[in-house]
Amino acid sequence: MTSAVPASPGRTAGVAGDHVHDKHISALEELFGDAGDPVNPVGRAETVAADERGEMLAAGEDLLTGFGLNAHFVPEALGGRLTGLEQLIGVMRAVYRRDPCLGLGYGAGSFMAGVNVWTAGTAAQQLRLADRLLAGDRAACAYHELAHGNDFSRTGLTALPGPDGRRRLNGRKEIVANLRRAGSMVLFARTNPAPGSRSHSQLLLDTDDLDPGSIQHLERFGTVGMRGVQLGGIEFTDCAVPPGSVLGGTAGLGVETALRSFQLTRIALPGMTVGLLDTALRTTLRGARSRPLYGGTVTDLPLSRSILAEAFADLLLADTFTTVAARSVHTAPAQAGVYASAVKSFVPPVLMRAVYRLSELLGSQFYLRGAEQPLFQKLLRDVQPSAFGHASRVSCQSALLPQLPLTARRGWLGAEGAVLPAETFRPGQPLPGMRFEDLALTGGGRDPLSRSLVAGAADARDDGGIAAQARFWCAELDALAAAASGLGPGSAGPAASPYAFGLTTRWAGVLAASACLNTWWHRPAGADAFAARPTGVLAALHRLGTHLDHHRDPLPGALAEPLYTELVRRFDAGLTFDLDCRPTGA
């Protein structure tokens, strides 16, 4: 198939300068203004009000159209601003800080559809979708059928040739964002009745080209969270498929294209959702500092400060892991599938638990409907679909499991293996271009992120507990390698044992630890006072141990107190809590 996205000119050119990326996020923050301003049409009050009505925030959608958000989903070579996942995550995180519904309901759905086309579309198809998105139109990513969940290989919707040789659509899709109002859709359909993984295709369709008489839109699906997002359904009855719709021009590549292209969204979505926790943390802190209790405020209590510090550490952990995974798409694209499944299975539960714990901190106040609470309650609802939406935890673990024994034998126990280039661990620094064509179905048993842990540990100086952590996680990798290489055949299918699934969680844990440690080891010389101290990385690793059930200890005071101090400093200065630490009006 032809590709309109030209091969990257290579390492020397790198992606667009970081200042361009910074400029976009700053411009977006400026457009959103001060969320606390009661007359701001995209402020907190209006955001909550729209959510209560189950509507998208119209002023927010207009704002994003004016900003040109869609351009961030379109590769630069096709006229857009997409140069890498880290940049996209940065922009989308700014949206998620204001309203996760806007993030998912305005934007992420179009990006999910887009990656299919950028990965496997013909040049003409890529240009077609790029033009539609750049004109401000939406694209729906129509994979989901209620009967099959995330198991899209059992898709029931068919696009089989009719008596005249022309393909016809029969069947339905359900719970797809923006299905009714999107001008384009990427539709996942069975194009061959035979079983197997060569029987499906994506179809790129313009809704205007379909016969309205053969389409029936289903009623919108109501949801607990992300209430504004318009989840629709569609039923096709003998709907003729326009010629040239099969993505890539060849039928049968659907499963392969999905597994390759969704690596990008499996990393990007959790990365965006970090913005939700950012605002949950800010909202909690605002409420807790103004809440008188026991002769002081909630934040005077060490337990409260510890919970806030732990949520902050969870945020840093989630951000560091997704950032390294996002950057590894540029430096180790063949392994991106492994890191994407690890991120998508591990990070959303971390974010969800953090938001939930913050709700406990708010105590009885959380039960009321006044002050900060309605926004916080919305965030607690909105974070729920991050775990199962797009790719569930178990489907990501199922993608890791068949690769585990080979990775143990070849990648971990093998004598040789490349590490990730150092720039992978330097957020914001230039990278080689992102090449969709290099995304692979499996990592081939290679795991350069784990190799970077082992290599870094060998060189680590004993600086304030970091070397001890490095040794601990290397020992965990050794133990995991021994356990994984002993996995018998038959432990990789959907009926795999809980023990086998647990090994994939341990793998994700080692990868997250490597991301944290290597980001510390490769930190820039001119880091600010907080980034120059190991408090953040040690706290993130402590929390990682909690999430993996290594221990149940609260964050030690020596970490919690400086972390809380930094949290309050950023709160007072109007800075985000992620690695970016940038001004925000959220």
């Binding site: 060569r198 080979l406 070849r410 093998g414 082992v454």
Partner: protein, 95 residues
Amino acid sequence: MSELTARPVPVSVSVSADEVREWLRDRVAAHTGRPVEEIRPDLPLTEYGLDSVYVLGLCAEIEDHYGIEVEPTVMWDNPALDPLAEALVPLITAH
């Protein structure tokens, strides 16, 4: 890290499709927990629950056993053991 684990002894490079197919049948039986006699080489592996990403574990075993690198899609393009064995022979021989 620990020592390199023992690799299977490389098989003869002049392997036949029959040998490869029999080895594959044995592995599919092990993966699916069925007696080897039940694994028919002319039926798609999906019949035994081995499809999509789950068949990739078998692909990894092929790589390790024969010391070759296999594009995972070969498993999808050759959904039954007969054509799969035929497709693998030239790769093994070339190695």
